[in-house]
């Protein structure tokens, strides 16, 4: 069996930290109760929005760069098998070793095996979404290997035994005072006089990690880009913890999703303009490191790359959804999202929160995995994410697409039709002809009865109750437009139902109000 051409294969879905453990509305409800969280998020997302806007406006060719970025990524997806093989050949020719991992478990086992081969029991880590996704730290711990996160925000989250809530700034949900308290509690030898001034906190992290960097023998990283035509890997960072991990240890193990490829060195000029401005709102991030296999006398001499599928091939099979794989993990979409800004990242459950997470997580795991089918509804479809996306992923369209995949996947699975099924059936009948709709509209006075004296309906029954959870519905009009038209034109002598009834068709102020 070497080819599946012409025959649909079963999608191989991803595993690991990709799941909403509870439905989004439930989780969001809980998170919204945390006023401190909302204040922290509001402050941080607005700060970054303004910074991003300023540096994006500076470039006269921002839209041309987005167009190029989008087309490059589309072409990567179309040519993925050949590009992976090209990258593999180039990286291997320069002394790197490539490993392939079907899923989270396989990737974890490969990394643990490589660490064991070195005889070490500690690794330093550069912030990486892929290793977060596969739950590498937890797996290594089970295997007796300690993983030290070295990015400041990851360090804060790790010290606090918490979970990341943002892909760029995992501790975005914590303010400076909370971070100071975590350091005092969890950092051995922290100065009791530590203040909550950010530069002071950053210095405390430097002291804490310095010895680790200088003595570490093994590092684990992710990668932002991989260039197929040269076999080059890139890590984009700010603090220098990336440079420390990528340069000083003897062994470097990188875990990267198969979708991170770019075809050529030239493509880097597009993405290194798009990524820093979209993510931290800087013209350029402080440090970017590029390495191609092994360089004698410079950096790690034992260099590995684990290429991770974990559901990416399944996402690729969805023709509408595959562009979610264009994502370069900049986080601009979450920073502008009105839903994310209020609920924070934990409500999404998965490693990937916010608008991109709401499409990526269900695409990687399959829509019916755990509660992931609730994620595509975690949006008002306002479209801010699409505008902000540097590679123009049409997130709102994919959200709507996944909602329909969700509904389709449930069709016919239950014997008793759901309220939604019945409602949709009824709507389909009512909207199929003017006569039917007219009949339904005869029921409007019933709604006025339900509204009572204050002319407001406060609670709708069943699933429609969601609508009245946070707002009232005004009483329906006494008559429908159709009824009014018919009456008006009969009175005026015009033939009922024709729209050109002349000046008398102007409704009186009273009837106008009744139609609203």
């Amino acid at each position: 069996m070497t080819t599946f051409l012409g025959m649909p294969a079963l999608p191989a879905f991803g595993s690991g930290n990709l799941f909403a453990g509870e439905s989004f509305p439930k989780a969001a409800h809980r998170e919204l109760g945390n006023a401190q969280l909302r204040a922290n998020l509001g402050h941080a997302t607005h700060t970054i929005r303004d910074k991003r806007q300023a540096v994006v406006s500076e470039l006269p060719d921002w839209e041309q760069l987005r167009d190029a970025g989008s087309a490059i990524k589309e072409s990567v997806m179309a040519r993925l098998p050949e590009l992976l093989e090209e990258f593999e050949a180039n990286f291997t020719a320069r002394g790197g070793v490539i490993h392939w991992a079907r899923d989270a478990r396989e990737a974890n086992e490969i990394v643990a095996g490589l660490v064991r081969e070195t005889g070490e029991t500690e690794v330093v880590k550069v912030k990486s979404m892929a290793t977060q996704e596969i739950g590498l730290n937890e797996y290594l711990e089970e295997q007796g290997i300690e993983a030290f996160e070295t990015d400041l925000a990851e360090l804060i989250v790790q010290l606090d035994h918490d979970k990341p809530s943002h892909i760029l700034v995992p501790a975005i949900h914590k303010n400076r005072t909370e971070i100071r308290d975590i350091f005092l509690r969890e950092m051995p030898g922290a100065d009791p006089a530590l203040t909550d001034d950010p530069p002071v906190l950053a210095m405390a992290a430097r002291e804490h990690l310095r010895r680790k960097f200088l003595t570490a023998k093994v590092a684990v990283s992710g990668a932002n880009f991989a260039l197929a035509d040269s076999g080059t890997l890139a890590v984009v960072e700010s603090e220098g913890n990336g440079r420390m991990c990528l340069t000083l240890p003897e062994t470097l193990i990188t875990v990267m999703g198969i979708e991170k490829l770019l075809p050529t060195w030239q493509d880097l000029e597009v993405f290194m303009q798009l990524l820093p401005r979209s993510s931290t709102g800087e013209r350029m991030n402080p440090y970017t490191s590029l390495w191609t296999g092994v360089t004698e006398g410079d950096g790690p001499q034992n260099v590995h790359l684990v290429l991770l599928d974990n559901g990416r091939s399944a996402a690729l099979a969805d023709e509408m959804g595959r562009s979610a794989l264009h994502c370069i993990r900049c986080s601009a979409c979450m920073n502008v999202c009105p839903v994310y800004e209020r609920t924070g990242g934990h409500a999404y459950g998965s490693t990937y929160p916010g608008p991109i997470g709401a499409i990526l997580s269900p695409l990687l795991t399959g829509i019916q995995a755990e509660e992931n089918n609730s994620l595509p509804y975690a949006s008002s479809l306002c479209g801010a994410c699409y505008d902000a996306c540097p590679v123009k992923i049409n997130i709102p369209d994919i959200l709507v697409h996944l909602r329909s995949v969700d509904v389709d996947s449930k069709r016919g699975t239950k014997k008793v039709p759901s309220q939604m099924d019945l409602g949709m059936k009824a709507a389909s009948w009512a909207l199929s002809s003017g006569r039917n709709l007219g009949l339904v509209e005869k029921g409007l006075p019933l709604g006025r009865l339900a509204a009572g004296r204050d002319k407001k309906i406060k609670k709708l029954p069943g699933i429609a109750g969601g609508w009245t959870q946070s707002r009232d519905i005004p009483a329906p009009p006494a008559q429908s437009f159709r009824d009014w038209w018919a009456k008006e034109h009969r009175d005026a002598g015009g033939s009922p139902g024709t729209p050109d009834g002349g000046p008398s068709s102007t409704p009186s102020p009273e009837t106008k109000e009744a139609q609203q």
């Binding site: 970054i48 392939w100 990015d151």
Partner: protein, 210 residues
């Protein structure tokens, strides 16, 4: 089936609809068209914005500038291929201050940690983004030496300044070990406010030699 075959088979199956690879529209700027003075002015502006210290000096003044920046340093490291003339004024504090790092005799990480400063050249710079690119050539040395010491003094020749990133990337070989540096190390991880100086050199001095 190996994981490799399995994954490639899955991907090919996922692409059964044979999507077409689009032509990439490259209508973004390929060059800035800026003159030499403009390039220097813009690079200085960007570097200062990142809280790097910058001096623009005639090439003949580079040694004096380096010497004055190294005044407080008890020791400094240089790569083997650094222009020897640049250090003409820096050995005043005693030749023992200077440590040489070479492929034949590389310093250990612990030794580097005990050194106060590093002096390197650079491959190319990007004015628009305030970025200096090191590619591991002999006058820049291996990556560790410009990372571990806390003070990096970096010389940029005016001729090596490109206007925008695409121009700069065309000038370097991507398969070399490359570090792009835009200011001293920094973090925005606390409330998304930028703080300069974390794990990489906390002090970056750039000398632009015209």
């Amino acid at each position: 089936m190996t994981a490799r075959e399995d994954i490639l088979t899955r991907i090919r199956a996922a692409l059964q609809d044979s999507p077409e690879a689009p032509q990439v529209p490259r209508e973004y700027r390929a060059a800035s068209g800026m003159g030499a003075d403009e390039l220097i002015e813009l690079l200085v502006d960007r570097l200062v914005d990142y809280k790097a210290q910058v001096a623009v000096v005639p090439e003949s003044d580079v040694p004096a500038r380096i010497a004055s920046l190294l005044e407080g340093a008890k020791s400094f490291v240089v790569p083997e291929g650094l222009d020897a003339g640049w250090l003409a004024g820096a050995d005043g504090g005693g030749a023992s201050r200077r440590r040489l790092d070479s492929p034949a005799e590389p310093l250990s990480v612990a030794e580097l940690d005990g050194i106060d400063a590093v002096v390197t050249g650079s491959a190319v710079a990007v004015a628009e983004t305030g970025t200096i690119i090191l590619d591991g050539s002999a006058n820049q040395g291996r990556r560790a030496i410009s990372l571990v010491p806390d003070h990096h003094i970096c010389v940029v020749k005016a001729a090596d300044i490109a206007g925008i990133l695409p121009e700069a990337l065309r000038r370097i070989d991507g398969t070399r070990p490359i570090t792009m540096i835009s200011g001293p190390s920094a973090t925005s991880d606390i409330e998304l406010e930028r703080v300069e100086g974390v794990h990489g050199p906390r002090r970056l001095d750039v000398i632009i030699a015209r």
